[in-house]
């Protein structure tokens, strides 16, 4: 093929391409101006109506009565989301774990349930920790035998787990927890309650060093409580928990945001009714899970 022929061929291709491109717009229906004006009026009226409906709809959502601090329709949407994700839940789904050398420092973020009336962190001394108990309330309100902290620390297999701790504010840190599986403990102390849907964990209203300014609570689905990566933990990054991180015992799980991982557990109540908790009452998703 000569250069000339190659050029001709390239030119033919470009012409071909341009004709194809033009066909994209050539096929459009053509109407006269009178017809256009009619259709245009209708289209603009519809557009205006839709725009108005959009604005009114948005204001309607914003002005709905609040259900736990957010418009009720948004609360319903959050619950619906969670039904969907629960239905999609894969058995055995595990959060990614890391090696201990990956662990990072983590700041104290939430102090709810840990402060006295002058907003100082309440310390739990060794003697109080030695006799610490998590009180249990069964479905229907029956008081069960409490879980002694000494039992948690000595009667079960100890696990060290490293995962990414995620805050609902957006930040995350890889942290290393030491503790025992909640499922192991509850299998012994509350075997009859595991058919219930929820656990509600609460900080103790009173400690030896004073009363708590603002009680904190966290509701967790029991399928998450019983997950093998959900722990009662007493050490963070190899050190005993400080007051700000929830001494003497807290719950941790990589399946929930930090707001659910209650520090300094005082009591657990089992319930089948949809519960609420500190942050849910303040507008957050009850489930707040991954």
């Amino acid at each position: 093929m000569t250069d000339r022929e190659q050029l001709d061929e390239r030119a033919a291709e470009l012409v071909d391409r341009e004709i194809r491109l033009r066909q994209q717009t050539d096929a459009g229906e053509i109407i006269d101006l009178a017809d256009y004006k009619k259709r245009s009026r209708r289209a603009f009226l519809s557009f205006g109506a839709l725009g108005a409906a959009g604005i009114l709809g948005f204001r309607w959502v914003q002005n709905r009565p609040e259900d736990e601090s957010i418009p009720d329709v948004l609360r319903a949407a959050l619950d619906r989301n969670e039904s969907l994700w629960t239905a999609l839940e894969r058995d055995g789904a595990r959060a990614r774990t890391f090696s201990i050398s990956d662990r990072e420092d983590i700041r104290i973020n939430g102090r709810h349930g840990l402060e006295n009336s002058s907003r100082e962190l309440i310390q739990v001394e060794a003697d109080e920790a030695a006799t610490w108990e998590i009180s249990l309330t069964g479905v229907g309100g029956a008081t069960l035998d409490p879980i002694p902290l000494s039992s948690i620390r000595s009667d079960f297999e100890v696990h060290d787990m490293v995962w990414e701790h995620k805050c609902i504010e957006g930040w995350s840190n890889i942290v290393h927890w030491t503790g025992v599986r909640v499922s192991d403990v509850l299998d012994r102390y509350a075997p009859g309650e595991m058919g219930a849907a929820w656990s509600v964990l609460r900080t103790p209203p009173e400690t030896d060093n004073g009363s708590v300014r603002r009680d904190y609570s966290s509701a967790i689905e029991n399928y998450t409580m019983m997950h093998p990566q959900t722990l009662f933990a007493w050490a963070l990054n190899g050190d005993e928990l400080t007051a700000g991180h929830g001494s003497p015992i807290r719950i941790v799980t990589p399946l929930k945001y930090g707001i659910k991982q209650l520090k300094r557990i005082g009591s657990i109540e089992f319930t089948d009714d949809r519960p609420t908790d500190y942050w849910t009452e303040r507008g957050y998703d009850l489930h707040a899970g991954f």
Partner: protein
Amino acid sequence: MAVSTTVDQADGSDPGEVMTDDVGLMDPDEVVAKKKHPLALRWMHWVNFPVLMIMIWSGMRIYWADLRDPYAIGIADWQVFEFWPDSVNSALVLERRLAKGLAFHLTFGWFFVINGALYGLWLLRKGRWRYLVPDVQGVRDAGKTVLHDLHLRKTRPPQGKYNPAQQLTYSAVLAISTLLVLTGFAIYKPVQLSFLLTILGGYDFARFLHFSMTIALLVFFGIHLIQVARSGWRNFASMITGYFTQTRREASPEPDVSELVAVGNRSDDAEREEVTS
């Protein structure tokens, strides 16, 4: 090989055939309206606009809650712009609204997902993705469109429904939106969708992608508004009515094969009629 033969083969018929008789009898200067945007496209476009506004606004409320303000434009310690300045936070009522931000974001996100899925299906079903995705020549020509828009070049490259720069931009917006949805889901359900999180480079990186794609979308939105303003009222109205008003002559182009052949021989530097986009 004769060029005219190629043209006939490509088309199968005289492209002007349908119109020739009608146009012959009609005033070529009469203003008529020609269908430009199908109804489905207009619906999806205009539903997307408020949904995206709600998503960006509620997303900014969520971002505000991370008091570190982790993202900024700059090099090392030298920050040109921090997301977001206090003035923006207070003007858009972003402060201390994390719970409501999340509630709106995780509700209205579904509308964005559904609308986007419908659009994707529609593009595939109607074959419209061909209008949108540039071919190799289109990618080469995109810069020429930009130069033409900046008045640095007299001619504009050949185009179909969208010019090459539009094709590149709109394709990028499609990719950005897809990435936004994927990173959104990955940071929303990082355990259940852990495979997605891994593909997207982990929690922190997925979060960074989610944020930067939003900024990219805002940049697009700015350019889009400027271009719409430049293109004038008839173009804007066509996104609402579906029809673009023009003279009958403009509406019924009779591709002149000899002109196109000449165009082809002159490569793509030929003078062309203005096609408003």
